[in-house]
Structure formats: structure tokens, C-alpha cells
Symmetry: C2
Subunit: 127 residues, 2 copies
């Protein structure tokens, strides 16, 4: 479209994106998975979330959830029981994020084989 050099406004607008992409917390390795899990399952307890998003450590899950809560994407419900029960669910805002994120997840599912094939072909050519 634009050769870029002829389009001085471009750099500025992409700066906004990069700011907002990081603002959206997608820089975190696990955030997307947590949002997708909550979006699909509805409310989940801490332990359930940890099992659903396999491989995440308790520490990182805690951090991720705190950040999501801070950004208004996830709501935390604590019940004064013993043993303790804490449920997490997406807020309305979180649910709006879930839509494009799930689309991305679907892309990954649908095109994983193609990507893998391309990768193997590339590696075969380089050897």
C-alpha cells in the first residue's frame, strides 16, 4: 500500500498500537490462555484454573490474575469458607476481549498443521 517513507503518519499510529498491545497485557506468556479458559468455562476456582491452563505455576497464575483484575478484565469472588474458595470470572470487558482472543485460538487450531508443514519444509531445505 504505502512505501512508508511517503507516509509520515504511520509511525505514530503504530506506536499507539504497540502501547495498547502491551496495555492489553498480551505480552504475558499465559494471559491469553487464562482469558480463553475463563471465557469458555465461565467461573473457575484457582485450582481449576491451574489445572485447565496446564503448566502454569501458582505464582505466575496469581500474578496474571492480579494483573487481569487490575485491568478490569477479571472479577475475583472470595468466599469465607474453610477450606477457602475463590472464584474468578471474566467481567463484561473481559468478555469483549475473549471474542478476538478465541478467534486467534481457533486460527492456531486450524492452521497448526500448515505451520508445522512449512517449518519442516524450511528445515529440510536448509540442511
Amino acid at each position: 500500500m504505502w512505501p512508508l517513507s511517503q507516509n509520515p503518519g504511520w509511525a505514530a499510529s503504530t506506536a499507539i498500537w504497540s502501547t495498547r498491545m502491551s496495555l492489553a497485557r498480551l505480552d504475558n506468556k499465559w494471559t491469553a490462555m487464562v482469558v480463553i479458559a475463563l471465557g469458555r468455562c465461565g467461573a473457575l476456582r484457582f485450582g481449576g484454573l491451574r489445572a485447565t491452563v496446564e503448566g502454569i505455576s501458582a505464582k505466575v497464575l496469581t500474578e496474571t490474575l492480579r494483573d487481569l483484575e487490575r485491568d478490569g478484565l477479571v472479577a475475583r469472588h472470595e468466599y469465607a469458607e474453610m477450606p477457602p474458595r475463590v472464584e474468578y470470572e471474566l467481567t463484561d470487558l473481559g468478555r469483549t476481549l475473549h471474542v478476538p482472543l478465541q478467534a486467534l485460538g481457533r486460527w492456531a487450531e486450524e492452521h497448526a498443521a500448515e505451520v508445522l508443514a512449512a517449518r519442516e519444509a524450511y528445515d529440510a531445505g536448509c540442511r
Copy 2:
């Protein structure tokens, strides 16, 4: 939806996601921006890409582009000129990725203010 404990199949399917999400190379800090830039601009030269995706170093851009090329998402066209000219553009597969990625970028643009407001409210409450 499911309390998880009643749904043993879940863990396995999410494992597939996590595999594919990383397969999709969105773990890289810059990959999404590069794909969005190429998707919006069409073909771009190395230098143009570097200017468009502000803040990326030549080294990391090279790495990112190699990975994307390897995964069949980006095509590299080298012209035997002096000074050298190399153009990058999305493949058909890359263009399919651009769709959900751009949706995500749009979400970030649209909801940045809400996220920021939530964050400030949260921080105010904690102090």
C-alpha cells in the same frame, strides 16, 4: 459451564491450545506487530519494517522474520541490486493470521481507555 473436575477431557484440549498458541509464535514480543504491519502495508522492505514497527532492533527483526518465514507466514523476496533490496510480505497463510490479529489490535484500540480507567481505580483503592 463445567466445574472442570467433572470434565476430564478439558485438560487435554487446552494442552493442544497452549502448544498451538506457542506454535503460532505469538510468544515473541514483536511478532504480532510485524504481522499487523505487513498485513496493512502489503510488501515492505527491511528498513521500512524497522521504521514501521518502532523500537525493534535489526537483530530481533531479522530473527522474527526468519521465524515467520520458516513458519510459512511471510515470504522474502531478495533483489540482486546494489544497494541490496529485500522485500517481505505475508503469504496466503500469513494473511489468514492477520485477520484475527488485527481484530485483537482493534480491541486494544477500542478498549484501552476502559482498561486504563480500571487500572487507575484499582490502584487508587489499594493505596
